[in-house]
């Protein structure tokens, strides 16, 4: 498939020039094309923020919902129709801040969707306040004396909760990121990819140069099935490792649901309830 099949004509892109989102869009189109996933069976779910506008620029079905609430929407869609490829794509404020509770509990739920989190360590759309992953000391119009909260580490949280797929990528490296995203898309279950990206408009601390100096890839010898190793590597903060930290293939949410035991037809494709069965149930009541 040609990645250009995912291009959307005539839409005015609202991202700033030089934004890392453009790289992530290229990465996603490439990964989808390589896997041959057609736009018709693809659903993107997003929240609010600059990253959340993503599905408007990629040909697909989409549900661009509320700030922080994309994860529960995605979980439900993939349970109602597991044949769809569901990607939940939004920023770190949306997913780790406003939607923190959904992030935690959907790792436990393990629904089948790929969770792409654009992580630029700053709030872009609201013009430069701290995000959950902002580094300590970063001065912003609100955090005037510098950020004093510990940065949120999505990878350690996810691995601590025994997430089924945990990865980190860097938007500046298209080739490697495509490979990581492809693996995530092929995973049956919840797959987190935290994608680091610069924000040239508002993050003057974590610039292209900064990322260049602060990211590196996990060694080929890293065993993603070793949870303790995965957790240990996710704890590193001096320099940020990239790659697939942890994989634990286990049944996805829908596979654990009674309706799919012995019947693989998507709920969305099943006939409505047999009302005769309901009549019988009602008549059998005491």
């Amino acid at each position: 498939m040609d990645p250009r099949e995912f291009d959307v004509d005539g839409v005015d892109n609202q991202w700033c020039p030089g934004c890392g989102n453009f790289s992530i869009l290229r990465i996603m189109k490439q990964a989808l094309a390589e896997l041959g996933i057609s736009p018709e069976r693809l659903v993107f779910v997003s929240g609010i923020g600059q990253a959340a506008k993503f599905p408007h620029y990629l040909k697909c079905n989409y549900f661009n919902g509320l700030h922080g609430r994309s994860v529960p929407v995605a979980a439900a869609i993939s349970a109602v129709n597991p044949e769809l490829t569901v990607v939940c794509e939004s920023g770190e404020g949306c997913n780790y801040g406003e939607g923190g509770n959904h992030f935690i509990h959907n790792i436990r739920r393990n629904p089948k969707f790929t969770h792409i989190v654009h992580d630029n360590m700053v709030y872009g759309l609201t013009k430069g306040q701290a995000s959950p992953t902002s580094l300590k000391g970063m001065v912003t119009p609100v955090q005037v004396d510098g950020v004093i909260l510990e940065p949120f580490n999505p990878l350690t949280v996810a691995i601590a909760l025994d997430a089924s797929f945990v990865a980190r990528a860097y938007a500046g490296d298209q080739q490697q990121s495509v490979e990581i995203v492809k693996k995530a898309l092929q995973h049956t279950g919840y797959a987190l990819v935290d994608i680091l990206q610069p924000c040239p408009s508002f993050n003057k601390l974590n610039t292209f140069q900064w990322f260049k100096e602060h990211v590196y890839y996990l060694e080929a010898s890293h065993d993603p099935h070793d949870r303790q190793q995965g957790f240990k590597r996710a704890c590193e903060t001096e320099k940020l490792p990239l790659g697939i930290f942890y994989v634990n293939q286990k049944p996805a949410f829908h596979e654990n649901l009674r309706i799919y035991k012995g019947n693989k037809v998507s709920l969305s494709d099943r006939p409505f309830h047999d009302l005769n069965k309901l009549v019988k149930l009602i008549e059998s009541r005491e």
């Binding site: 839409v11 609202q14 736009p39 018709e40 069976r41 659903v43 779910v45 609010i48 506008k53 599905p55 408007h56 040909k59 697909c60 079905n61 989409y62 549900f63 661009n64 919902g65 509320l66 609430r69 994860v71 529960p72 929407v73 995605a74 979980a75 439900a76 869609i77 349970a79 109602v80 129709n81 044949e83 769809l84 509770n101 959904h102 935690i104 509990h105 959907n106 649901l257 009674r258 309706i259 709920l267 969305s268 494709d269 099943r270 409505f272 309830h273 009302l275 069965k277 309901l278 009549v279 149930l281 009602i282 008549e283 009541r285 005491e286």
Partner: protein
């Protein structure tokens, strides 16, 4: 001793949480129904798992349907002391009190019944509840075989030894009760009524859950909250028979977003919650308004603000349902009065949501949810599940501007089109827009959707003589108590108009109101929210208000007194 009216007995059993009052209720009503009596039960309980004081009122009758709460107690069985204080005002000279001597010391006359001693005899206090079932059935002279079979069924998942001990306890209680009846100490003469044999016993929560299934509901996501949880657990239970995903969400915000995701993907979703949980869902209601998603929202009301009285009843969240969600968009609010209403309205709610692509509310309350009585099995003739989903073609526009305001709703992977929905203002395709004329067109389109709603409206239920002078106006769970009160008053000048669809207010309402010399609003909240809504929508003043907001349901006696007073 003065005997109560023969055809209608009210039995109240009271005890601490954990003493099995709920079990007594569920077993006794089934026994009574099988013994061919009309039966009604409602419980009041504290927001705790152990101790405290809970009670259940069970009404039985031969001739008449019993379907609401009354104040009068004919037979009171308190299993501990604490409940007496709460029930004191309802105990009169004609109330027969059956209990251990120490429970009622200082309160007046009672019949000494050695529940504790008998239970200890069998093996411990735990058997008190079974003895109580036996005692009541013995007094009423119900066949021991029937009683034993129902009790056995209740304990069917218990060990044989436990079952046996309960049978011994039951017999002890039954014999002692029968003895009281034989001696004439306590005597009730309610004849049986074969007409109820075909009836089913059902409570409000289950009526709503079964109605939801009849409406095609196959997805429910909710966070447990009293008193609404029973709808969630009922649908979860039914998921063993029907294709239903019943998911306990991490919070109410997730619950409503999941339900919206489910509709988007092609399911028919609902949420169930109470006022406080619904407060968290308001943003999701607004989202449904913007993306034009169907959704069914059941709110089991309880008294607020904040945590309020978690296990009590009120009709205080009408305004919350009416105004929930920022921005302007249409909605429909239904409120069941009878058990049958719960079934048919829940069924209808799904078709309305699917057809008009708006949030549809079912507004019940704790009293409604927890009350049950015998009704004819629901009739599903003519009921169909209307999907409202179209197959999409290339170039499909989710928000196509139409004269009805309703755009054909597609779902992903059902045709060649793409389904684009956005919480931002959007164009016909579903892309973000900040174009002022598109914005105006979209607001108009959304508000147009209910313009042709007339045909599907649920009309208010009128009862009484058409030449009425006084009109009692009500909505929701107060329905049956008002009907019984009006039957007791027996004044042909008083009629009753009961609303099952509280919003939009059906246009026919004004005619009914204008005809009345005096309108009397009966509502379970402190300010008369529905009365205010009528005033706002129809410019008609409600003349008198009968309001209650103590946390208890209206009882028939107070309605008789208050309506009589206002209708003069």
């Amino acid at each position: 001793m003065k005997q109560p009216a023969k055809d209608d007995i009210s039995i109240v059993l009271a005890g601490q949480a954990g003493q099995g009052i709920e079990t007594i209720e569920s077993v006794l009503v089934r026994i009574l129904k099988h013994a061919c009596y009309n039966v009604f039960a409602t419980k009041e309980y504290m927001s705790r798992v152990r101790l405290g004081a809970n009670s259940t009122e069970i009404r039985m009758s031969s001739k008449n349907k019993v379907n609401c709460y009354i104040d009068r107690i004919d037979l009171l069985v308190p299993l501990e002391k604490q409940s007496i204080a709460r029930l004191k005002s309802r105990i009169t000279a004609s109330t027969i009190v059956l209990c251990d001597a120490e429970v009622f010391t200082g309160f007046g006359h009672h019949i000494d019944f050695q529940f504790t001693a008998m239970a200890e005899d069998v093996g411990g206090k735990i058997f008190t509840s079974t003895i109580a079932i036996g005692a009541v059935c013995g007094i009423l002279g119900i066949s021991i075989d029937l009683v034993a079979s129902k009790v056995k069924k209740e304990f069917s998942d218990k060990k044989e030894e436990i079952v046996q001990k309960n049978m011994v306890a039951l017999q002890k209680g039954y014999d002692a009760g029968a003895e009281l009846a034989t001696a004439g100490t306590v005597k009730f003469d309610v004849v049986t009524n074969a007409c109820v044999a075909e009836d089913i016993l059902i409570n409000g929560a289950e009526a709503i859950a079964l109605g939801a299934i009849a409406g095609g509901c196959n997805f429910i996501s909710s966070y447990p909250m009293s008193p609404s949880t029973a709808v969630l657990s009922s649908l979860a239970e039914k998921s063993k028979i029907f294709d239903i995903i019943a998911e306990q969400a991490e919070d109410e915000i997730a619950a409503i977003n999941m339900a919206l995701g489910a509709w988007y993907a092609g399911a028919r979703g609902m949420v169930t919650t109470s006022g406080g949980g619904f407060a968290l869902m308001c943003e999701g209601v607004s989202l449904a308004g913007m993306i034009e998603s169907p959704i069914v929202i059941h709110i089991g009301q309880r008294p607020g603000p904040a945590t309020g009285l978690p296990t009590r009843t009120e009709q205080g969240d009408l305004n919350l349902a009416l105004y929930a969600g920022h921005g302007v968009f249409p909605r429909i609010i239904l409120a069941p009065g009878t058990i049958e209403d719960g079934f048919y309205l829940a069924q209808k709610a799904f078709n309305l949501a699917a057809k008009y692509q708006v949030p549809v509310f079912i507004l019940s309350d704790q009293y409604y949810i927890d009350s049950y009585y015998n009704v004819l099995p629901f009739n599903l003739d003519g009921i169909t599940i209307e999907s409202g989903v179209v197959k999409t073609a290339k170039g499909y526009k989710r928000y196509a501007l139409t004269s009805s305001g309703i755009s054909p709703r597609g779902i992903p992977k059902n045709g060649d089109g793409l389904v684009l929905i956005d919480s931002d203002e959007h164009d016909e395709e579903g892309h973000i827009t900040e174009d002022f004329s598109v914005r105006t067109a979209m607001v108009d389109k959304r508000l147009r959707k209910l313009a042709n709603f007339k045909d599907d409206m649920v009309q208010p239920r009128f009862s009484g003589n058409t030449n009425y002078k006084f009109l009692v106006v009500s909505w929701g769970s107060t329905c049956n108590a008002i009907e019984e009160a009006l039957a007791i008053i027996g004044d042909p000048a008083i009629a009753h108009l009961h609303f099952l669809q509280v919003y939009p207010i059906p246009p026919v309402t004004k005619r009914y109101l204008d005809k009345a010399k005096k309108t009397i609003l009966v509502e379970g909240n402190a300010t008369g929210q529905f009365g205010q809504l009528i005033k706002q929508e129809l410019c008609v003043d409600i003349d008198r208000k009968v309001l209650k907001y103590s946390g208890e349901p209206f009882h028939v006696e107070e309605l008789v007194a208050k309506i009589k007073k206002e209708a003069s």
